[in-house]
Symmetry: C2
DNA sequence: CGAAACCTTCCCGTAAAAGGATAGTTAAGC
DNA sequence: GCTTAACTATCCTTTTACGGGAAGGTTTCG
């Protein structure tokens, strides 16, 4: 399977598939005589696994850990849960930060008349 | 006022103050004979304005627009409100995305036993 | 006067690719 | 069988918003 086929099958752009090969995250199954990367079902599964991990917001390095566990039959679910719980905590932290920002900014936007006069509580606040 | 003094007064790192000068966001008031950047009260106010805009999550380019309005006495509050409302929408979009992620991941983490056995709904889901 | 504490520019590295240049390879159509 | 379109390869640059550090000039303190 050539790289564009593997890309489609895994739901990733070709550039990204090549990038993942370059950084040693998902190696192609092999190379053709002409040097073209070739992928098989297993390597495509790994690509799709990474795509889903990334969609969850796991970093490349976290995804690397996860795929290590994915391919390790002797893994413990505790190890996986630990990574997921850490990511969950990151998400919750970001949510708290965004909530504060949201409330402050919403307050300012509501207080701003938004007409053609220059006085503006948003500018007042920032300045 | 030398750069480290201006940095302290504005609450920014020296590196960042230099960077803002390089990209034409906040120019120093002038240069000494030896080529040192020198800042006055007005330029420090601009630095602090940018710092607060950045803390609100406005990008550098958005901050550049905002400071343009800040320094423009003929601005309309509608222009400022437009930028702020756009940023507010970005925040709300991010909040919605994070909420979906949070709920899914939380569900998976709850369902995972987290013991020393290999079977794990998180891995199952990603794979 | 010498050393510490400034300051300058320049270049590299970050995360995670995307975009583009240039060149080699393969598949399709006629 | 030949052209050409559509692939593929590597390599380099760009993105965001700086941070780290080198090499070297300046100022200030004791």
């Amino acid at each position: 399977m050539n790289i564009s086929h593997a890309a489609k099958a895994s739901g990733l752009p070709v550039k990204t598939v090549r990038y993942y090969a370059d950084i040693g995250l998902v190696a192609p199954a092999g190379r053709t005589e002409a040097g073209y990367r070739s992928y098989d079902a297993a390597s495509v599964r790994r690509l799709a696994f990474i795509r889903r991990a990334r969609e969850f917001g796991f970093s490349i390095e976290e995804s690397r850990e996860l795929i290590g566990l994915y391919q390790n039959d002797a893994r413990s679910s505790a190890d996986v849960k630990k990574l997921a719980a850490k990511r969950l905590e990151q998400i919750e932290q970001k949510q708290r930060e965004l909530q504060v920002l949201h409330d402050e900014l919403k307050h300012l936007v509501r207080a701003c008349r938004g007409d053609n006069r220059p006085d503006c509580p948003i500018i007042d606040y920032l300045g």
